[in-house]
Amino acid sequence: MGHPAVLPVQEHKMPTLETTFAGIKCLNPFWLASAPPTNCGEQIMRAFDAGWGGAVWKTIGEQVTNVSSRYSSIDWNGQKMMGFNNIELISDRPPEVNLREMAEVKRRYPKHVVIASLMVESKREVWHEMVQRAEDAGVDGLELNFGCPHGMSERGMGSAVGQVPEYCQQITGWVKEKALTPVIVKLTPNISDIRMAARAAKRGGADALSAINTINSITGIDLDTLEPRPNVDGKSSHGGYCGPAVKPIALNMVQQVMSDPLAALPMSGIGGIGSWQDAAEFMLLGAGTVQVCTAAMHFGYRIVEDMGDGLLAWMRRKGYETIEDFRGLSLPNMREWKNLNLNFRVVAEIHADRCIGCQLCYTACWDGAHQCIHLDRVDGGMEQPVLGTDPRYAQHEANPHGKPTPAMVFAQSVKTIATTPIPKLDLDGEGSNSAVTPLHRIPRVDVDECVGCNLCSLVCPVPECITMERVETGLPAETWAERVANAESVKA
């Protein structure tokens, strides 16, 4: 009589979201950015209960008076708040109230990260005093708001500092003279090269960076009253733009900084982050934590649950145990244009079995790209031999085969006589068998003309209907930089 076999507990290494950012231990990398969701202690404690790992307190400084109204947004195709804009200033609560609540939050949530965002007038002793008061409240770190682009900048603070590298370096230096906790400098995107401000912060001794702050913006104008939004007694002022629309801009700026050895520091990514995918993308470009505002303002603190859940699931699938395992892994894949392989080529392939016949790829290619998608599957298009030419080098003529233009196609359709199909008699009406895409509506790619721009695959509403397929050019990889160098060496 043997013992039943007992399976040993598998020692799976489950991924963790715990991380350390510039020396600050974090339960997870999800912080609320300094903004209305972090106005007061009551909010921040509820946010921690919902799962946020940290919060950057709404910027404190000399108490301000805000205007009414303050926010405006851009909706896109029925989706609300694609882009969001605000003209709210820093905290309009007395600093002592904020500091008292910070201490209370830290006492009740000792493992959660509380960062004090600071903005005071550009005087050394004023900064020293504010640093002292914040650290006395027990915060885990300081974020210097050198980014706010509206209102405060008119008073010589916020982006007025961030836009001038010398100021940025000097104030960072003052803060570092005093600070005992890590100092994060928040960068403004309203500058021609964000690396200049980042390098200045690094020279000033900053421990970390956060980017980006909001972008100067006017979201729109009321076409009845001609008054821009947000409306303050009939007038408006440029605000700070954020939300999903700014993510690509933020990713680029984060990458620029993180790829620059003179600027790179621990980075807290900010800008349009609302999902775990967004967070992962910022981290792949080097961010160690991410900060969220607009998405939380739109949907509430609860969004953090899927940000964590989804990111952990992705980490499991990819085999990453910690954020450090994948942080920055996409940085080497970003390079200057001149270092891209000119001899790499893709062409569009339309998978007819998936095509629904909307012909958006056709009109996009004709009007917005290179006139190489045609509606000729029933007119011999499929029998056209593929020569293997690369149009980037071989041809420079639009529509070399004289295919019908969109206007010609449309004019033909308008002339066609259509009638309502009578049941049991007519089986050929356009509306009578809509389950199958008629062959004449499935576009064809002229492979010899396609430059591989991606546009058709981007406009196609059906997933995986148009794919970009690699074509062997038979040429060794060559970048523009190499080509120029080779040409020069030949000359020499």
Binding site: N77, G78, I356, G357, C358, Q359, L360, Y362, T363, P406, A407, V409, F410, A411, S413, V414, T416, I417, A418, T419, T420, P421, I422, P423, K424, G429, E430, G431, S432, S434, A435, V436, T437, R441, P461, V462
Partner: protein, 478 residues
């Protein structure tokens, strides 16, 4: 001669009928319309446009709803289909635009094109604005149009936009033909048809009512007008050809539907039988239910697979509570002075597809009202006799006027035709498309008329005050 306009006010709308025949497809509320409009993919050379007999540029008008340009949306619709409001309600969109929607192939609901079109047209009507077109400069030409249904109305609109006078002659007291009198009230109320025609009257279309055009009158019109458009539709509904058909309580679907729509028929007895299984039969049967009948049967000689009604109409009738008697045919209408019952014979299909009654299997269906809906006959034969000797006769085939599909011209060049009298009976939108082509065809034939009427916005995009680019190129194409 021409009547004063405002036909809409002449619609005797009965509150009870309105309540019983509430919209089958209720109007879209604004937010819902914009949401639905945003779902449209904006296909190029869209299949919905191709499927529409009048080729309304559907993605274009839908985009304008999404952008809040309702004025432009209505104009886009009307430019292609002057009866865009009626068609938005009456069209069998399932087999037309919505049937062709690419969403079917994407595992999604098709765009609700019909309801969006109605939304744009309702917005125009609510604005109180006239049609966004102006009559063309007077060419001095005059066209007589026989019949005031959709084909003639569409033809007349094209003529007016090209500066041709258009005078409609109709046998009824109100214009619109079957559009006014023949479409189920829950799809297109009589008043809505008239509202649309009021706008045509503002464009200068003239009307002569209660005017039956026969051989002599047609000859007179031919002599005094520059061209004649024949849009008189089909004739009476076929008779059953069985004993007892003349009894009180036997009517036909067209009179029945026109009766309740115009308010002369207010209620029905409790047991109704509708003979036939086409779309008109369904409309009659559903109306009988809504007018208070307790038991409505549809009687058809073949099975559900063979019925000529659209599948969605059949489903609708089932939901209304209509019962179906398949594979039977009436052999006798039974009754003393009034209808009391229908004697039905069971039918069997033979190998060659013909139907043979089973002599021993007769059933008696007790009914109080019999509504015949077994197809309309033609009534165009007189036109061939009327056409002037020098111009040649108008050719008919199986009672239908033969036309050149692109121009609507008959074998007698002065006569054009369209709608049911040429196609044997199709939808409103088919008649509109016919009328539109014929209107353009007549203008071309008369010569001198402008071929491409521009409206103010088209002119503006070309640099003219108030108007659109592209119309210049369009003109070059014609």
């Amino acid at each position: 001669m021409s009547e004063a306009t405002n036909f809409f006010s002449k619609a005797g709308v009965s509150a009870e009928v309105a309540a019983r025949f509430a919209d089958l497809h209720p109007p879209l509320e604004k937010t819902a319309a914009v949401t639905e409009a945003l779902r449209c993919l904006y296909c190029f050379d869209a299949p919905c446009m191709g499927a529409c007999p009048t080729h309304i540029d559907v993605p274009k008008f839908i985009k304008k709803i999404a952008s809040g340009n309702l004025e432009g949306s209505a104009r886009t619709i009307l430019d292609a289909n002057i009866l865009g409001a009626s068609c938005s309600r009456a069209c069998p969109v399932q087999v037309l635009c919505e049937g062709a929607c690419v969403m079917h192939r994407y595992n999604k609901q098709p765009i609700e094109i019909g309801r969006l079109q109605r939304f744009a047209m309702d917005a125009l009507h609510a604005s109180g604005d006239p049609l966004p077109f102006t009559p063309g400069a007077d060419t001095g030409k005059r066209v007589a149009l026989i019949g005031g249904g959709p084909a003639s109305l569409a033809c007349a609109a094209e003529l007016r936009r090209r500066g041709v006078r258009a005078e409609i002659f109709d046998a009824r007291p109100l214009p619109g033909g079957l559009n006014t009198y023949g479409i189920a009230e829950y799809k297109l109320p009589l008043a809505e048809s008239l509202r649309e025609i009021d706008m045509l009257a503002e464009l200068g279309v003239e009307f002569h009512f209660e005017m039956v055009v026969g051989v002599e009158k047609l000859a007179e019109l031919e002599a005094s007008y520059d061209a004649v458009f024949l849009g008189m539709g089909l004739g009476a509904i076929h008779k059953l050809g069985v004993a007892g058909e003349e009894l009180e309580g036997v009517t036909n679907a067209l009179d029945f539907i026109a009766g309740y729509k115009s308010g002369t028929l207010k209620n029905v007895p409790s047991r109704v039988a509708v003979i036939g299984a086409g779309n008109t039969a369904i409309d009659a049967a559903n109306a009988a239910v809504r007018l208070g009948a307790k038991e409505v049967h549809m009687v058809y000689r073949r099975g559900s697979q063979e019925m000529s009604a659209f599948a969605f109409e059949y489903e609708h009738a089932r939901k209304e509570g209509v019962r179906f008697l398949w594979h039977v045919t009436p052999v006798k209408v039974v009754g003393e002075k009034k209808v009391e019952a229908l004697e039905l014979a069971r039918l069997e299909s033979t190998e060659d597809g013909s139907l043979v009654p089973k002599a021993d299997q007769h059933v008696l269906l007790e009914v109080d009202l019999v509504v015949l809906a077994i197809g309309q006959g033609t009534h165009a034969e007189f036109v061939s006799a009327a056409a002037g000797a020098d111009a040649g006769k108008i050719r008919l085939e199986r009672g239908r006027i033969v036309i050149d599909r692109e121009t609507g011209q008959t074998s007698n060049p002065k006569f054009f035709a369209g709608g049911d009298c040429t196609n044997g009976g199709r939808e409103v939108v088919d008649a509109v498309a016919d009328g539109k082509r014929a209107g353009i065809g007549i203008a071309v034939w008369l010569g001198g008329a402008i071929l491409h009427p521009t409206h103010r916005d088209e002119a503006a995009m070309n640099g003219a005050p108030g108007g659109l680019a592209g119309s210049g190129a369009q003109d070059a194409n014609t």
